[in-house]
């Protein structure tokens, strides 16, 4: 779910843009040159993942993966989210250019939080990694929808209904994201554990 142009009030649009510029600047400073390939990979994969639809009963949902981005990139996650969203907005019109700041806050802050959480919880065993992965996948999605609802609410009471419905609709998606993150983390732990460092 992305916020499109023209929804949020001007103050929020500009405020979230300023916050995004600041957070990106911090991210740029914290990202070392040699981890650039990793950031580029996750950004592109984050983008590609949004094209993958999974069936859910009669409809289908697509993944958004803020949780996995946080797990894989930690403090660099915000740059990856901003770039991924910028590309999605420019190529597909998912979310608008003026809403880029708000969308980045909405997915980037949960990604940063989840990245920190994963580091605390992951432990050394496969089991602890798997549980932390699932939790991060779930929290990443549900927190970002929470941010979405909160941002919509800044547009006034009129938008409360839309926010609530988006939140309820995202519950099944969060569970799917949790399961996917769980399996992906297990896979990476077995195949290329250095990606989870």
């Amino acid at each position: 779910m992305h916020i499109s142009d023209g929804v949020l009030p001007v103050s929020i649009t500009i405020g979230t843009f300023a916050a995004t510029i600041a957070l990106t600047a911090v991210g740029v400073r914290k990202t070392k040159d040699e981890s650039l390939p990793k950031v580029a990979v996750v950004t592109s994969a984050f983008f590609v993942a949004s094209l993958i639809h999974l069936p859910l009963g009669p409809t289908s949902v697509h993944l958004s993966l803020p949780g996995l981005v946080g797990v894989l990139l930690g403090p660099s996650a915000y740059i990856s989210i901003v770039l991924g969203l910028a590309l999605q907005s420019l190529l597909f019109q998912f979310g608008g250019i003026t809403a880029l700041g708000a969308n980045s806050i909405m997915m980037g802050i949960p990604a940063l939080m989840v990245g920190w959480l994963f580091k605390q919880l992951k432990g050394t065993t496969l089991k602890s990694h798997a549980i932390a992965g699932a939790l991060c996948g779930f929290l990443g999605t549900i927190l970002s929808v929470g941010f979405l609802a909160a941002l919509l609410y800044t547009g006034g009471e009129d938008f409360l209904g839309v926010g609530k419905i988006a939140f309820v609709a995202s519950l099944p998606v969060s569970i799917i994201e949790a399961i996917i993150a769980n399996f992906t983390v297990i896979f990476l732990f077995k195949v290329k554990p250095e990606l989870l460092k």
């Binding site: 779910m1 992305h2 499109s4 142009d5 023209g6 929804v7 001007v10 649009t13 500009i14 990106t24 600047a25 740029v28 040159d33 650039l36 390939p37 950031v39 580029a40 990979v41 996750v42 950004t43 592109s44 994969a45 983008f47 590609v48 094209l51 993958i52 639809h53 999974l54 069936p55 859910l56 996995l68 740059i79 770039l83 910028a86 590309l87 420019l90 597909f92 019109q93 608008g96 250019i97 003026t98 009471e157 009129d158 209904g161 839309v162 609530k164 419905i165 399961i179 996917i180 993150a181 769980n182 399996f183 992906t184 983390v185 297990i186 896979f187 990476l188 195949v191 290329k192 990606l195």
Partner: protein, 314 residues
């Protein structure tokens, strides 16, 4: 509060709505069936399950128009400012004007219709939600017009519908202007212009690299997915599907990472130091400045009309 709202009861309105909805659903099903039949005839099976095509961002960059000749730095700056001004509009009539201006700009930039259609269709999910939900959920305020489609007990608030329409008009106006903004110069030139506008080098490099990798990974993902299908994988709503897709994603990460690492090392060994050498120089003519100022004035004008024209309530 609710007493001051105007209420109109539409007898049997609920029935009419239900009939309309039913007709729409039937029409959609028939269209799907026809499309599936056509796809089968053409030999495309299960196309909907895995249509991962990504549009090319700068496929019209070799045309010739006012936008193509415009200095990219001024183009990016003034159109971005214009976008924010449009996003601040609050009345339907001016949002509609902005949409007309965007359509004119697309026409002027000679962008074909399929590009614009693609952008508008992509936004339909999010905006359609507003169109359906807003009229039913906005809190009633004095002066609102409520429609009751009997026997449905929930009022349909016309103000909510107008808010949704205003948002859609603004979103469409800004989405359409993206085509003249991005599709009138090759992407490396646009990125170069961003660098001149003080966007950090690292961000510019990352946009360029990620954009390139998207197509590489999609290719990879398609290849892997074809392999999975050949081995009998079909998506269903169950844990096994999620398990497979989780592994698929993990494998995509691993193989992409290995490849990127190799490419990065190859770049380093060829002397890559964080920037690509560029030999395009920008040159802003007075005409370019005028065009940029005109766009910003246009946006400011719309916003002024929007904020001062109090006599127009929409």
């Amino acid at each position: 509060m609710i007493d001051t709202a105007e209420t109109i009861y539409i007898p049997f309105g609920g029935m009419i709505l239900a009939a309309g909805l039913l007709l729409a659903i039937v029409a959609i099903i028939i269209r799907r069936l026809l499309k599936a039949a056509r796809d089968r005839k053409a030999g495309h099976h299960h196309r909907h399950e895995h249509d991962w095509s990504v549009p090319v961002l700068d496929d019209c960059s070799d045309l010739d128009s006012v936008f193509h000749k415009w200095d990219p730095r001024l183009k990016i700056f003034s159109i971005l400012v214009y976008c924010f001004l449009v996003a601040a509009l609050t009345k339907i009539i001016w949002a509609f004007c902005a949409l007309i201006i965007s359509l004119a700009a697309v026409k002027l930039a000679k962008i074909p219709f399929r590009n614009t259609k693609r952008r508008l269709m992509a936004m339909f999910g999010f905006l359609g939600m507003f169109l359906v939900i807003m009229p039913l959920t906005v809190p009633t305020q004095p002066g609102d017009l409520l429609l009751f489609f009997q026997p449905i007990p929930v009022p349909f608030n016309v103000r909510g519908l107008l808010v949704a329409i205003r948002i859609i008009l603004k979103a469409f106006a800004i989405a359409l202007i993206m085509e003249p903004l991005l599709n009138t110069a090759p992407l490396p030139v646009t990125i170069q212009a961003l660098r001149h506008l003080r966007v950090p080098d690292m961000i510019c490099q990352m946009i360029l690299l990620s954009h390139r990798y998207i197509f590489v990974f999609l290719n990879e993902a398609n290849r892997m997915y074809t392999g999975m299908r050949v081995r009998g994988f079909r998506q269903k709503t169950n844990l096994a599907t999620l398990h497979t897709m989780g592994n698929f994603l993990g494998m995509l990460f691993v193989s992409s990472f290995n490849r990127t690492q190799r490419v990065y090392e190859a770049m380093l060994s060829r002397g890559y130091n964080g920037t690509f050498p560029v030999y395009t120089d920008f040159f802003a003519r007075p005409k370019d400045w005028l065009f940029g100022i005109a766009w910003i004035l246009l946006g400011t004008g719309l916003l002024l009309l929007d904020r001062t024209g109090a006599f127009i309530i929409w």
